[in-house]
Each structure stands twice: as structure tokens, then as C-alpha cells.
């Protein structure tokens, strides 16, 4: 009897959260799938059921394919670069006991609390052709022969420019996560390794990495989700998808089709692809990185 009562209590505690989750997460997700089957402008009641037509169009849409390529490139490079730098910095700050550890921790974390609009403004200034930081530096060192690098104007460079800003933005956040994980590794493991004659690289590979592996796996999923989201925000403010769509990513293309091109149903079809893609990718990454959990 007592157990039954506590069950009711547990369920009634979970219910509000479950209800909110259903209303604000599950229902909208299902709606995206449903709306992708319609031809609809998004504002009026005039909508026609078209089955899978939107998905067929999607396969032939070279602008969508380009946004797909850009997104995959961004996810891959941002993850590899940010992950490596964040782990190395975290290791240095935790293990090497360098002066001003807290200062660096704060400095690296600051970009993460800035809004995307501010980050875009900062990088507009860094990438600008005449007064920009990088071009200005180049001209200072090479006054006669320097030709402006058009970071945001060259379609072959612009995605890398976006990646640069994203890496800068993300490093601090992941570094702090890895530091927290590394901080809990008992120091006696390192001391023992040192006595055995292991150098720092060996210690990192054999002690640090296996012991923070679960954190790394979790952050890999974060990388996929946040790369898709943040690239949209940044592209919208920094380049507007330009020049001529060269920096368009998944969500910015979705947005432009759903709103500017009044093809809401088509936009939702893109949303379905993004959903399935990120879900599958996260699952795949999680599967590939599965190892026996090492504990201390």
C-alpha cells in the first residue's frame, strides 16, 4: 500500500515535465514530419497534400546539396580542430600548473558567453579587407606586395572563415568541460607513471585520454548539434549565406526556403533531413567511439 502511494507521488512529480516535453518537443517534431508532406506558404489555411514531392525536389536541388556539403565540412573541421585544441589546452592548464591558470580559463571561456551578433561583429573586423586585422597585419609585414585576402568574398574561403569564428567561439566551453573531467583524475596515477619513466605524451595518451573518454564521447554529440545550430546563427549574421550562397548551411537554407521563398513545406522537408542526419550521425559517432569504460 505504501509502495503504491509513493508510485503515484513519483508519477505526479514526473507528469508536469513529461507534459511539457510532449507539448514542446515531441509534438513539434512530429509536426515537422507532417508539414513536410504539404505544399504550404506557412501563413494561411491554404495547403495541399503533396506526399513525398518535397523530398524528390530536394534530391535535385543543387543549392541544398551545397548547403549539405558546407554543413558536413563545418561539423567535421570544427569538431576535429576544437576538440584537439580544447583537450591540449585543458591538459596544459591542469597538468603543467602554469602561472595564471584561472586567467586563461576565463579568457578562453569569454567567447562562449558573447552573443553570436558580437562574435560576428568581431570577426567582420578581423576579416575585413582594408582595415581588417589579418589583412592589416599582412600589409604591415609586406607593404608592397600584399593583396587583400577576401575572407568573406571568396567563395572558396568563406566557409573556412566561418569555421575559424566557430572554433574560436567553442574552444573555451569544451576546454572547461575537459578540465573538469581531467581535474578528477587522481594525481597518484601520474606520479606512478612518472616513476615508471613515462613521458608527458605517454601519460596523456595512456592515462588522461582513457579516463576522460566518456566526456569526449558526450561532447562529440554536442559538437554535432551545436555545429548545426551555431553555423546557422553565424552565417546569418556574418555572411547572409553569401557570396551567392557559397556559405549557406542546412538551417540557413531551410530558413530562406521556408520564409523568403514562401515554401514552408519544403523547408520542413529540409528540417526532416537535418533531423534524421544529425540523429544518425550522433548514433554513428556514439557507436564508433564505444570503448570499455576505464575507471580509477
Amino acid at each position: 500500500m505504501k509502495q503504491k502511494g509513493s508510485k503515484i507521488f513519483v508519477y505526479s512529480c514526473i507528469a508536469p515535465a513529461l507534459l511539457l516535453f510532449a507539448v514542446f518537443m515531441i509534438y513539434p517534431t512530429i509536426s515537422v514530419f507532417r508539414m513536410s508532406l504539404y505544399e504550404w506558404g506557412g501563413l494561411s489555411a491554404r495547403r495541399t497534400f503533396v506526399g513525398l514531392k518535397n523530398f524528390k525536389v530536394l534530391l535535385d536541388d543543387r543549392f541544398f546539396l551545397r548547403s549539405f556539403q558546407n554543413t558536413v565540412l563545418i561539423i567535421t573541421l570544427v569538431t576535429i580542430i576544437t576538440l584537439s585544441i580544447a583537450i591540449i589546452f585543458a591538459y596544459i592548464l591542469i597538468r603543467e600548473r602554469i602561472k595564471g591558470e584561472n586567467f586563461f580559463r576565463v579568457v578562453f571561456y569569454i567567447p562562449n558567453i558573447l552573443s553570436i551578433a558580437v562574435i560576428a561583429a568581431v570577426f567582420s573586423a578581423i576579416y575585413a579587407p582594408d582595415q581588417g586585422l589579418i589583412n592589416g597585419l599582412g600589409r604591415l609585414l609586406n607593404p608592397d606586395t600584399w593583396v587583400n585576402i577576401q575572407f568573406l568574398g571568396n567563395p572558396r574561403l568563406v566557409v573556412y572563415s566561418v569555421i575559424g569564428a566557430m572554433v574560436w567561439q567553442a574552444i573555451g566551453y569544451y576546454m572547461v568541460m575537459y578540465m573538469a573531467s581531467m581535474g578528477s583524475i587522481p594525481t597518484h596515477l601520474y606520479e606512478a607513471a612518472q616513476i615508471e619513466g613515462a613521458n608527458r605524451v605517454r601519460q596523456f595518451v595512456d592515462i588522461t585520454l582513457p579516463l576522460i573518454w566518456e566526456t569526449v564521447r558526450t561532447t562529440l554529440v554536442f559538437f554535432i548539434i551545436s555545429s548545426i545550430n551555431i553555423s546557422f546563427l553565424l552565417v546569418n549574421v556574418l555572411t547572409g549565406g553569401g557570396p551567392n550562397g557559397a556559405s549557406e548551411v542546412f538551417l540557413s537554407y531551410l530558413y530562406r526556403q521556408a520564409y523568403n521563398n514562401a515554401s514552408y513545406g519544403y523547408g520542413m522537408a529540409i528540417g526532416v533531413v537535418v533531423f534524421l542526419f544529425s540523429f544518425a550521425l550522433a548514433g554513428l559517432v556514439s557507436l564508433v567511439t564505444k570503448r570499455d569504460v576505464v575507471q580509477y
Partner: protein
């Protein structure tokens, strides 16, 4: 007995509620863009409209991202009575409402009397403004959007660089490119543009100039042959030629975050011409500039010395969405917008000019704005309109194909032929969607 008296009581209450709501003050909800003109004139107009119509309250919602604010409200069927947001604005709200046929026919407003002036709205608006594909998007002779705040578009330059002993203003395209070569030797680029979006006015005027209003109208109605015509080809080629004379920093700065840097190139004498509208001097009023800088403004160069010159007239619009509650009051407000009183307020508070007869008389002779609005007195013809309403075609965003590609033409990644071909293909797809309806 008790039942009877209860029902009488209830009926009385109901009546009271109905009458009460009838005499209740009416509220007119206006939502619109808080853009380059500011919001002072709207506040003043609302105040004056309230004073002229006792019992009416005007509720203004003005924001820079008004499309993002209105979208969820419209989906929730919570419509404002009037929306002020031009066709082609960011967010595509107005364009979507047109495509979804969710805007009310306001042709009868044209036959209403301008409050207190004894003249019909139709006769007060400058001829031509209510015959365009912008105000009558379905080409059925009915007006759905009311024209507001017009502004000639053309090329802006530093007038100080031109004159005796300096550069000569080009009359024809040949002279234009000749000037480009000359300026290049002085280290100045001939051309720059804020973003490719600004090519709409440029391209429309160019097309009208080369093929006449008839070709322009065919092109705006998705006539595939018009887009492949020799005149259209020439228009693409001219822009392809201009691309070669475009300042090298332009493309990198042709985005929302940096477009003012391209406008700054004119102020710094790094580029000679920029396509824009009359809001430009106001937009750049606080920017540093070269010594002696003075804004100059001209229509596009002509095909030949005796050819026609065109300047595209940009104007904004207001409209009543279907589902608005206070339709009659909204129509009354639209009529009020064309009074001399409203035009005066709009000019004094915002510097914007209403498309009504006699509006240019509001400008003092020493008003620098006057120069811009006299472009049509100097022989340029007005070109107006935009693409007709068409069903949306998934994946085919004509504006980005027609104008966005210019960035790639300037970069040399796309040839002029390819660009035209892409446009013709896109137009053909939209044409097919129209015919299938």
C-alpha cells in the same frame, strides 16, 4: 417564476454586454517596420488620427524585425488591422501573404474621399502608382497594397569629383565604361554596390531602358521569351561588364553586417558610383568623408545619346491582412495617409515623401532632398513594379538567382551566359507552376 426572472436577468446582462462592447472604444492595430525613416511620424499620425476620430485608439507596433514578430501572431490568427511592410523586405512576410492570397482587396479605398479634402484617393495619388504589379499583384485590376513613401533610385556619386577639369558625368554606357578606364588609372574603381539586393531597382530600370516598359512587364510576368530576348541579354551583359569595374572589396562586404562599408567606399573616393535610393545620405550622415564631398545623384546611363533614361521608383506599401477585425477603420486610416496633413507630418518627421500630387511642394528649395526628387523633371522616366505574384516553387528562389548570382559574376565564378541561363530556367519553372494552376 424564478426561472423566468432569471432568464430575463440573463438576457438583460447579455444585452448590456453587447451594447457595452458596441460603444466600447475601437482599437486600430497597426504593425510595421521601424526602418530608415524612424517612428516619429507614425506616433504623430496615430495621435492625429485619434484626435480626428473620437473613441478610436491606435495601437502601434513598430520593430526592425517586424516580420519575425508578426509571423507567429498571424499563424495564431491574431491579425493586425494594418501591416506596413514593403514587398521584398527581409523575412518575406509580405511576399508570402501575397502568394497565399491573404491580403484584402482595397480597391474601394481608392474611391473613398480623402478626409476633409473633397477629393477621391484615386485622384490624389500620383498616376501610375496604383497600376503596378506591386500594388495589384494579381494583375486583375484590383488594388491590394497601398503605396507609401516613394523614392527614386539611381546612381549616387561624389559630385565634387565631377565638373570642369575633373571627370565628366557619363551619359551613355560607352562613356560610363570609358570613365571606368580613366578612373582606374587614378586608382579609383568605377562601381560598387551595397549588397546584390540593391540590383533590383538597377536591373528593372536597365531592362526598361533597353526593352521598353512592354518588355519589362512581360519579364515581370514570367515570360520566358522576354528573359531570353536580345534586350535582356544586353542587360545581363552590361552588368557583366560592370562586374569587371567593381571595387575588389565589394563582394566581401556585400552582406548585412558590412554593406555600409561598401557605401563608405563612395565617401572615401575609392569608388565612383553606387546604386541606391534617396535614404542613402541620411543612412550615412554620421560617416566620415573625403574633403569637399557632396552627394550627387543620376539616373542610369543610356544606351545612346538620344535613348530614354529610366529611374526605378522604389516605394513601400501598407495593406490590410485578411482576418483583420477593424476593416472599415483600417480603410479610413489608409485614406487618411493621403491627406496633405499626413504628408506634411511624414515629410517633417521622417523626410519621406508620399506619392500624392503636390507632395514635392513640401520641400524647401534649399532642401538637399529636392535634388533627388527632381530626377524625373530632368528627363528620366519612371519605372515601377516588380515580379507578379506567382505560386511558390520549392527550391527556386528567383531573387537570389537573378540578383544573388551577381556576386559570383563579379568573382568570375559564373559567366554572364550561365547566369542568364539559370534565370531563364528558374523563370520557366515558375511559369510552369503558374500554368499548372
Amino acid at each position: 417564476m424564478l426561472r423566468k426572472s432569471l432568464s430575463i436577468c440573463l438576457l438583460g446582462l447579455l444585452l448590456f454586454a453587447v451594447i457595452g462592447s458596441a460603444v466600447q472604444a475601437q482599437t486600430l492595430k497597426i504593425a510595421g517596420l521601424d526602418g530608415g525613416w524612424g517612428r516619429e511620424h507614425w506616433d504623430e499620425l496615430a495621435r492625429r488620427f485619434e484626435a480626428a476620430n473620437p473613441g478610436v485608439t491606435v495601437e502601434l507596433t513598430l520593430a526592425q524585425n517586424i516580420a519575425d514578430i508578426l509571423r507567429p501572431q498571424i499563424i495564431a490568427r491574431n491579425y493586425p488591422d494594418i501591416i506596413y511592410l514593403a514587398v521584398g523586405s527581409a523575412g518575406g512576410l509580405t511576399d508570402t501573404l501575397i502568394k497565399e492570397q491573404a491580403i484584402l482587396d482595397i480597391t474601394d479605398v481608392l474611391d473613398m474621399e480623402v478626409p476633409g479634402e473633397g477629393v477621391k484617393v484615386r485622384d490624389k495619388i500620383v498616376p501610375g502608382f496604383t497600376d503596378t504589379l506591386i500594388t495589384n499583384p494579381y494583375g486583375d485590376g484590383k488594388t491590394y497594397l497601398a503605396p507609401l513613401f516613394y523614392s527614386p533610385c539611381g546612381l549616387f556619386y561624389n559630385a565634387d569629383l565631377f565638373g570642369p577639369g575633373k571627370y565628366q558625368l557619363p551619359e551613355t554606357w560607352d562613356e560610363f565604361f570609358e570613365l571606368g578606364n580613366q578612373a582606374q588609372q587614378d586608382g579609383i574603381a568605377l562601381f560598387t554596390y551595397p549588397t546584390t539586393g540593391y540590383f533590383d531597382a538597377f536591373f528593372y530600370a536597365l531592362l526598361t531602358q533597353l526593352g521598353g516598359p512592354e518588355l519589362f512587364n512581360r519579364a515581370m510576368n514570367y515570360d520566358v521569351a522576354a528573359w531570353g530576348s536580345p534586350e535582356a541579354t544586353r542587360a545581363f551583359e552590361i552588368i557583366g561588364e560592370i562586374a569587371k569595374y567593381t571595387h575588389p572589396n565589394t563582394v566581401a562586404q556585400a552582406n548585412v553586417a558590412n554593406f555600409t562599408k561598401n557605401q563608405q567606399l563612395i565617401l572615401d573616393n575609392q569608388a565612383l558610383f553606387i546604386p541606391n535610393g534617396t535614404w542613402l545620405p541620411n543612412e550615412m550622415k554620421d560617416a566620415p568623408r573625403a574633403d569637399g564631398f557632396e552627394w550627387g545623384f543620376m539616373a542610369l546611363p543610356k544606351q545612346s545619346k538620344d535613348g530614354d533614361s529610366y529611374s526605378y521608383t522604389f516605394f513601400e506599401q501598407m495593406y490590410i491582412p485578411k482576418g483583420a477585425r477593424q476593416v472599415d477603420l483600417a480603410k479610413k486610416f489608409i485614406a487618411f495617409m493621403y491627406t496633405d496633413e499626413a504628408a506634411q507630418v511624414i515629410y517633417e518627421k521622417a523626410g519621406a515623401v508620399q506619392p500624392i500630387l503636390g507632395a514635392s511642394e513640401l520641400m524647401a528649395d534649399d532642401d538637399p532632398n529636392k535634388l533627388f526628387y527632381t530626377i524625373y523633371d530632368d528627363g528620366a522616366k519612371a519605372s515601377m513594379g516588380a515580379f507578379a505574384a506567382a505560386p511558390p516553387v520549392a527550391g527556386v528562389d528567383l531573387a537570389s538567382i537573378l540578383f544573388g548570382t551577381i556576386d559570383s559574376v563579379v568573382n568570375g565564378d559564373v559567366t554572364v551566359e550561365q547566369w542568364q541561363k539559370d534565370v531563364v530556367n528558374a523563370v520557366a519553372k515558375i511559369r510552369a507552376a503558374i500554368d499548372a494552376q
